[in-house]
Symmetry: C2
Subunit: 139 residues, 2 copies
């Protein structure tokens, strides 16, 4: 079965053209996407608002997750299977290339656990690393 459909159905979301298109974009894309990328890369032109709402729905349903950035934008990337509705377990490292500016989910690099001071109870961690990615290092 079509992967896109599969994901939407599994989350109990109704299948609409917009959701299919946006979800496809994530599946095809290697890296993470910002709101703006989505607006400019979809063939059909959606209303800005639809993109906002779709992203929000996807996040709430554990289909995509947010990646923190330091530039007033949010990046989104596909979740792996273990993400369920409401609960995100994206404890992998995100790599932002200073050169090509892509953000790549290093799914195999798990965020190491660290020791917190007395009284701090961590629930969720995110790690973002900047540097040069494996594609750009060749040039």
């Amino acid at each position: 079965m079509n992967q896109t459909l599969d994901i939407l159905k599994r989350s109990g979301l109704s299948v609409t053209e917009g959701r299919r298109e946006i979800l496809n974009l994530f599946i095809q894309s290697e890296g993470a996407l910002a709101h703006a990328d989505i607006e400019s890369n979809t063939k059909i032109s959606f209303d800005r608002v639809t993109v906002y709402r779709t992203l929000q729905t996807f996040v709430e349903n554990g289909i995509i997750h947010q990646i923190p950035t330091t530039d007033n934008t949010i990046l989104y990337a596909l979740c792996k299977d273990k993400c369920g509705s409401g609960h995100h377990h994206d404890e992998h490292v995100h790599f932002i290339c200073n050169d090509c500016e892509k953000t790549i989910c290093l799914d195999d690099v798990i965020v190491p656990s660290v020791k917190f001071p007395e009284g701090f109870h961590p629930l969720q961690s995110a790690m973002v690393v900047k540097g040069i990615c494996s594609d750009c290092i060749k040039n």
Copy 2:
């Protein structure tokens, strides 16, 4: 000598009322501040634009650093001594409390180094952890 003045002078910045006030806010505050916090917590009312420009100047001069978030804002926090102009070395963990919503720099918790796949060259890392802070856990 006054710490605020000291920091500004060391960076070669001219000492103005706005910069003193904003820098003071950072020094007094335990956690990280968002643009909005600054606007609402300064006695003198600055122009929004001045706040933007001041924050930018401080970041460029290694006085404060940005903390990535997933909510379309940027948090700022004072740098420690080792940050120099242009180069930030804030490899410590940032803790965001889900309860009081404060962001705390855990200066003593260093971001652990992780092993990257072949070809990835990390230059800078940031780690943001959400959970319950030591103050809120008591309640």
